[in-house]
């Protein structure tokens, strides 16, 4: 059974190349953007670090400023990968249980001695584990590549930055925060992936429209009838809200990473993480329960749905 499950996972990867293509594109964009000088956290552009005036400003912050800033920059590199994960999960999960009904190949898959629970389970595992882990690997690789690019750019200068680039003190907390961010994205995505798998298993066709239009309609009706936007906020919270839930003060990070003594030192990356609050929050635990119910619903729907729609 275990090796059979591994084949189900492999099957998913044969079909859905976006699992690794999407993070690869994300990494490529980051690298190109850095080369052009566009990558920015607060007012720090990586390409600007070689600018003596900018460098001088940072060094003027003194003390711990440079390693703190380095760690934040490394974590910031991971953020676009987390967002890529959400997009990839969205399209993957919507397609997972509907495309084979559309082309009728579901009849071939169902002719194999594989239970519907194993099939849905393999798709759930790809969405919540494989996609984030591949993106995590790409994020870590990008951190190394982008750091190397900075090192190359700063080589030959006397800047203090170069001394902190490759130290364990910079990297260990940054990698820790990156892994923690990936864990948060994984756990947070469970109910959303469950919902998308259920939609994918149930609707006769056009899962994208079914997943997107009803929530939009609800939000519109809410706006017209009650002049409120609770539902839109709920959706935002269940998606991008992961950052606010897992990290504290994310909204201030951009503002705090100012270059200049008057704005104070950048925050320590390890102080941004709030794992205990996050892992015990009702939002997360409730989401996991709802996600499990939705996946059970998707398994049930997979059993009675076939090519007849």
């Amino acid at each position: 059974m275990n090796s059979s499950f591994a084949w189900l996972i492999r099957r998913e990867l044969w079909e859905s190349r976006a699992v690794w293509v999407a993070p690869a594109i994300c990494g490529a964009i980051l690298i190109i953007a850095t080369l052009i000088g566009g990558l920015q956290v607060g007012e720090v552009r990586i390409a600007n670090l070689a600018d003596p005036a900018v460098a001088a400003k940072i060094e003027a912050l003194g003390g711990d400023a440079i390693p703190r800033l380095s760690r934040l920059l490394l974590l910031a590199i991971a953020v676009p990968f987390y967002i890529t994960v959400m997009f990839t999960q969205f399209f993957y999960a919507l397609d997972a249980l509907s495309s084979d009904r559309r082309d009728r190949s579901v009849l071939f898959w169902k002719s194999m001695p594989v239970s519907d629970a194993a099939t849905v389970g393999s798709k759930f595992a790809v969405a919540v584990l494989v996609i984030p882990l591949v993106a995590l690997a790409a994020a870590l690789l990008s951190q190394v590549v982008l750091s190397s690019m900075v090192a190359l750019k700063l080589s030959g200068t006397e800047l203090e930055f170069t001394q902190h680039l490759w130290t364990a003190g910079t990297w260990l907390p940054a990698i820790g925060a990156t892994l923690y961010g990936a864990l948060a994205v994984i756990l947070w995505s469970v109910p959303l992936v469950g919902w998308l798998l259920l939609v994918s298993a149930v609707v006769p066709r056009s899962p994208f429209l079914w997943a997107v239009l009803p929530p939009l309609a609800v939000a519109l009706v809410e706006d017209v009838l009650f002049d409120s936007s609770y539902f839109i906020h709920l959706i935002a919270e269940r998606t991008l809200g992961v950052f606010a839930a897992a990290f504290s003060g994310t909204e201030q990070v951009g503002a705090t990473v100012r270059i200049g003594p008057e704005d104070g030192l950048p925050p320590r990356v390890e102080h941004l993480m709030q794992p205990v609050e996050f892992l015990t929050s009702a939002d997360l635990l409730g989401g996991l329960v709802v996600g499990a119910l939705l996946v059970a619903g998707a398994i049930w729907a997979r059993r009675y749905r076939d090519d007849n729609g």
Binding site: W7, R11, S105, L107, F108, S111, M112, V114
Partner: protein, 285 residues
């Protein structure tokens, strides 16, 4: 001889329409059974029930299992080809072979290799790059390499040219069928399976209207061809159907005395198509 499929009072309603309406039949091992019926008669629904793809009312055991509850387990012993177009288009030939080997405990890779070696199928091709005939060959190679007790074929040759259809059934008979195996097949092309069937099941409006081994057809049904002047006498013997062919009258009888028929004209064995017309379109239409 073991009973592979036992269905009693199988019923399935889609809204007000009854796709199956108390169908009762059994399939014994070692047989090649044709499930024949007009469109919408319930053939596909019956197969779906047998394969555990649809839940039905009534009693149904396949290899002693409840198909809907135990589909995954059942599929270790049952293979099916729904129709030729269902292999996913993005799948590569080699991936298809690897996948089935990976998930199916009764798959024999060497047999699959043997079948594929006889074709022009390139392992690196995707299914969408293959012709319809090749897709069938690939699907058949995968299925024939599975050591299954029951093979279910639902319109397996739909959309294939004559050559591919013939190859399909030839491979099935020569390379697959043996005493241990059982095949249940539905098709509109009755003529092409006429000679390979051992049993006949007619289904109409969700009910089984005929269930007979092929060898007993000549004992029960006879076709009589007479000149027009004998038609009246032939009608006296209560035929099931009558039609005219090239100026002569053709009658089909059930349980008639062969000697009485011989005196009127030429007695033949009816084809499945003749029986189909008699049993399903019903009587003197």
């Amino acid at each position: 001889m073991a009973t592979l499929i036992e269905a009693r009072g199988l019923t399935k309603a889609y809204g007000a329409k009854r796709a199956l309406d108390g169908a009762t039949f059994t399939v014994e091992s070692g047989r090649i059974v044709g499930l024949i019926g007009p469109n919408g008669a319930g053939k596909t629904t019956a197969l779906k029930a047998i394969l555990g793809l649809a839940r039905c009312e009534g009693e149904l055991r396949v290899l002693g299992l409840d198909p809907y509850a135990d589909r995954a387990k059942l599929m270790q012993q049952v293979s099916f080809i729904a129709d030729v177009a269902v292999l996913p288009r993005w799948l590569k030939v080699q991936q298809a072979v690897d996948f089935v080997r990976g998930v199916h405990p009764r798959f024999r890779p060497d047999r699959c290799e043997q079948f594929l070696a006889r074709t022009n199928i390139d392992r690196r091709s995707k299914v969408k790059e293959l012709s319809k005939g090749m897709i069938t060959q690939l699907h058949l190679a995968l299925v024939m390499a599975i050591d299954a007790r029951l093979l279910v074929l639902d319109e397996p040759t739909l959309g294939l040219d004559i050559l591919s259809r013939k190859q399909f059934y030839d491979s099935l008979l020569n390379d697959y069928m043996d005493d241990e195996r059982t095949i249940l097949v539905t098709t509109h092309q009755v003529e092409e399976i006429e000679n390979i069937l051992t049993d006949l099941l007619f289904i109409d409006r969700g009910r089984i209207v005929l269930d007979t081994p092929m060898e007993s057809i000549p004992e029960k049904w006879l076709q009589l061809v007479v000149a027009p002047d004998r038609a009246g006498a032939a009608r006296e013997l209560k035929p099931l159907t009558e039609r005219q062919l090239l100026g002569r009258h053709v009658f089909l009888y059930e349980g008639a005395d062969p000697d009485a028929l011989e005196r009127l004209g030429e007695v033949r064995q009816p084809s499945i198509a003749d029986l189909f017309v008699a049993k399903i379109q019903g009587g003197l239409a």
